[in-house]
């Protein structure tokens, strides 16, 4: 691994400073780091452990337990596709296959140009109007293959 970058450690310090005093603070701190960087740098784990009086193993264990936390920088855009039953009942599996082939990646991979990370999610709470997709935080319903392509194209032209 490369040496920790200054901006990564600065984000870690800022999250510890802001959230470290809350009761049971680890998840709150980790959210703070991921909100600011988009991921949790493994180089920051020793510092989080020290500040919160935990072992590195405990922090690593928490980071890796939760699906939401990432330890690698995602693509410039994150596309989440719902795989759960209600979306499957409305053509979710076909959309999932389309998304993978359109982007040329599997779930939890990033396109080679670093543009897009594809993630699987299990329910976005949009179950009456699926298939559902969230792109960079924005939720979309009734997503057909054509609409998926249009949403991606709209993002690329920005």
């Amino acid at each position: 691994m490369s040496s920790p970058e200054a901006h990564e450690l600065a984000a870690v310090e800022a999250a510890i400073e802001r959230f470290g005093q809350q009761p049971g603070p680890l998840l709150v701190v980790l959210h703070g780091v991921q909100d600011s960087l988009g991921y949790i740098p493994t180089a920051g784990i020793p510092r989080i452990a020290e500040a919160l009086h935990l072992s590195r193993a405990e922090v690593h264990g928490v980071v890796t337990f939760y699906h939401y936390f990432r330890t690698h920088k995602p693509g410039r855009r994150v596309v989440q596709v719902c795989r759960a039953e209600a979306c499957q009942a409305r053509g979710g599996a076909a959309l999932e296959a389309h998304a993978k082939s359109r982007l040329g990646v599997d779930f939890h991979e990033t396109t080679t140009d670093g543009a897009t990370t594809l993630e699987a999610v299990y329910c976005l709470g949009n179950c009456a109007t699926g298939p559902a997709v969230r792109i960079d935080g924005r939720l979309h319903g009734a997503v057909t293959a054509e609409r998926f392509d249009a949403l991606l194209a709209a993002g690329e032209s920005k």
């Binding site: 049971g24 039953e85 009942a89 299990y122 329910c123 709470g125 009456a128 969230r134």
Partner: protein, 508 residues
Amino acid sequence: MIVRIYVPKDATALSLGADEVAQAFAAAPGVEIVRNGSRGILWLEPLVEVVTPAGRVGYGPVAAADVPGILAAIAKDGAHPLNVGVVDEHPWLKSQQRLTFARVGIVDPASVADYVAHGGYAGLAKALAMAPADVVKAVTDSGLRGRGGAAFPTGIKWKTVHDQAASQKYVTCNADEGDSGTFADRMLMEGDPLTLVEGMTIAGIAVGATQGYIYCRVEYPEAIAALRIAIAAATAAGYLGGNVCGSGKRFELDVRVAAGAYVCGEETSMLESLEGKRGEVRVRPPLPAIKGLFGCPTIVNNVISLASVPVILARGADFYKNYGVGRSMGTLPMQLAGNLKRGGLVERAFGVTLRELLYDYGGGTVSGRPIKAVQVGGPLGAYVPPQHFDTPMDYEAFTAVGALVGHGGIVVFDDTADMAKLARYAFEFCAIESCGKCTPCRIGSTRGANVIDGLLAGDRPDEQRRLLDDLCETMIQGSLCGLGGMTPFPVQSALKHFPDDFAPRHRH
């Protein structure tokens, strides 16, 4: 003249372009926009409502391009192809019995004044005038059972916490609504978050807890934002904080964001997660009501359970329990999802049948094909075949047909559904989401998927079938929590009702 127009900010409405619609209306002169929650008529979203002397007139589903035409119609007599009439009179809504969802879609979720104007905080006012034990008794007498799915009597949990002598107690709200096909928690938190805030405040006053946490899933950023705005507004208005409504009692509330682990919807793993740990299930006893968050007595209730408390206090336990059937008292906000023409939220007293929900409300499948099966109660719920569609929504009646009501989510599949694939998916999901603490769930889930693969490949199918039955039984009997213990339910129901789907498949 200023025209007031409601444009929902509910996540489903947003996913279908509500922000663009709101922007288009806001650009017109003489228009005041209110961003409300959703009425739950999700097949009409974005459903815009225009305030008229006759009531709030709905238009939906509206796209931004429809806005000029609607504005022109409003200026005249309102006639427009998307006009659905006065929304309160809409048959899909009018036949519902909305107690918990009474204000959702109607009020401005960010406004305490609007909340109070629609009957909000009447329950808290009553609770503050009562002895705490009487508040607990009212909840017990109402017959309210945990709406998260376990259906445990809410009042008994509260009484246990009330009876503990402790310097610190907590009220926690489980808003980790991870079940596919459920969105009632989300809709309530986005559309009327103050009802949840009020319910938790009443709980705190009743059991002597001064701190509450709402553990909300990270997949619900819109709900998290709405909750934070509501909590700040309630605090500013004196309904939360060191001196709730001048009573001298303290109750503070924070939102904690989950991190995408389905198992954290199980109450003890939720507590672990709130403490900042891996969301591994705790062995019970001790019960959370005795040793819960940070080792203190803790209420753990679902969003809908807590949000049903204000109406119970405001109108009395008898009012609430007069809805429903048998031991399933009150109302249940049911969620119609998946392959339905008219999906959305239907709050009715227990006792309404699946058939009424699927056909009268749901209108059958959107694909136009026959319904093959519905999964009720989330990914751990059984697949219910058409011969059981006359089962009333009632905890005991569902148990009798080998199914569960759960959180009231209903996912509809048409006859193209492959039940063996769905059964395999149940194992796959369990394998992804298992916390790993107990062996039946951690190993059994992966083995279950393998065995179904073997079965479908025609590799010693009789043996595989026996193995599968045995594995399901082991998981049910031996798992620490409902994830491993209930994953076999969808599998067994699929095997029982759709055996043909599990016949060996020959590759060409």
